[in-house]
Point group: D3
Chain length 137, copies 6
């Protein structure tokens, strides 16, 4: 069993905000992160898959294929976008890194499975001090 990790990057705007709550409550909970005029980040996304190593090939799956899948289903949807307004897989969700990690997991899972590998981890580094990992349960 080998674990293979690909890093991709994207830049996006967001705000932490629950539309069911009054502005005051949003501000109380999320502070400056709920600024209605948005702020943004350089996100680093690490996707780890695992599977059996085919020794004569040297791979579980080709990391170029993994990169293409991540770019097609995630980066193209979110890079240089507003996470609250324009990203289908974040629709109706609080635009936190935690919810984002789960949404990316769910979006990638069927595509990773089709490649004959298991999705192991989605990790998002939002700033050099803050990161989130999700393992699917």
């Amino acid at each position: 069993m080998i674990y293979l990790t690909r890093r991709e990057r994207f830049n996006a705007a967001h705000r932490l905000f629950n539309p069911d709550w009054p502005d005051e409550k949003n501000y109380q909970i999320y502070g400056k992160c709920s600024n209605p005029n948005w702020h943004g980040h350089n996100y680093e996304l690490f996707v780890t898959i695992k599977g059996n190593l085919k020794e004569e090939l040297g791979f579980v799956i080709n990391i170029r294929s993994l990169s293409e899948i991540i770019k097609k289903y995630i980066i193209n949807e979110i890079d240089h976008k507003n996470m609250n307004l324009e990203v289908k897989f974040m629709n109706g969700k609080v635009a936190s890194t935690e919810n984002l990690a789960v949404a990316i997991w769910e979006t990638l899972l069927p595509h990773i499975n089709k490649m004959g590998a298991e999705l192991h981890m989605v990790k998002i580094v939002e700033t050099e001090n803050n990161s989130v990992e999700y393992f699917g349960d």
Copy 2:
């Protein structure tokens, strides 16, 4: 003559956009960076000052004072903000890293001078691949 550099960080939303041009021209020049729904970055700001070393003090100026000045006049104004809409020193300017470097230089210059040092460089790292330096002329 010693050169002293302090790094501070901020996260902001922006779009590259000149309001004097039609949307089409903005898109042609700035591409996805002109997305009207904004995107954002983790910006790293490096401020370098220079001056004579007072050997018995070991400093040109105290780096804590330099940090306080940058936080007061720059970070507090721009962190978790929308650079196009909310940041006074970017008012009426295209929100590019280049214009931002010049605006930060001009904002910091009188305060650095009051401390008895010379401002040498403002450097902004927008992504791991893109950065801008300004030396004041």
Copy 3:
């Protein structure tokens, strides 16, 4: 189950030294790390908690609260201090990164639990080449 990691930093002096052993034995085992005049490091501390994601909140716990807890109980006690002489939670222990990881775990555990999360990992990066992780058992 989401894993959330906060990085905090501190600078401290220490020496590797067991007072029950003669200097010679200390030197034999710890080499230059047992220098009686001390040396020091920039330590990076990564604290990972885990818990159920409250989707309408987007959080397990607020990362700002996690940061405050780490600062209050760890960083304020050890930053710019001598780990052997001044840090209560290292009292009577060899000032190794390994013992430090365990001591930080034990110090943080009740406070993390009170927040409704589980402490998952304490990781300390002592140099770019050396790091230690502790998972509580």
Copy 4:
């Protein structure tokens, strides 16, 4: 149980290539990575061991000994070498990062065990975007 990680680095040439396949198939699968004139990388190797913390020593094992073992059995064999032509533990294998991680695991395992520790993980970072982890099964 403490986890201790040592990073070592090496630079090597390689190509992805299975000699049982025609050049065309190698190119189809490995693309530019199968260039017959070789290319190369700065590899970062992270070796993690685990074991019981001897508190009066502050160590599981001395990280200097771990570093010496890695240098003797791995770095000296592969640094500034051609992975396909000159490295015994890669002999007859496709020179992928995945196969390399397994080969390094197998080479280190008896030496780590002799030190009274368990080998936990071999991680290789090939580029800032691509990495592989192996846990021994």
Copy 5:
């Protein structure tokens, strides 16, 4: 006058070797870097241009155009290649980082000038410990 820096990356094989010298002299001077079976690196290339800031545009030149020029004339020629055997602009030169920096400068210079900017610096980071800068004279 604004300074704009773009980072691009490439992986290549090389050896330090002067064909006018006997193997012994090559080994004496270059040590393990002259291994006839090659070794390789992840190279980071930083290209800095300077010029007048067009404030209504926010740019000296568009960093995307700078990136395209570097990719077309440098990265496509050297990435996943053997620097001694396959790279036209290194033809007949010792494959050192120093000679490489000069060759990249000379290759890029006319293309940067055509863009209306001045080439200021070519910097190559060969390892985390070794780097070279060239300013054109």
Copy 6:
């Protein structure tokens, strides 16, 4: 003219403290950095030399020789030491990064000159946020 930079690292204890001043004044100026029980850092030292490129050699000077000089005269004197008590070239000086940069410049200068190169810059990175550069005047 080529600029060549070598990075070396050391770990040391220090305190900011002028013995001619009462403790109170030291504390007022240097704050927690004047803790009498010391603290410490992982220092990164970047030494840049410049000189004419000998094209048939590919070097100004061999970076291995530069590394050896820095290790012999600087790293061996300061690594795992107390900068205030044990380091000859810091004797009688306030142990600031600024004074350290000047002292390292003065210590290295004659040795760099003997190698046929010019010393261009000594840069010290004390923390990820604080650094100092000295160019010799």
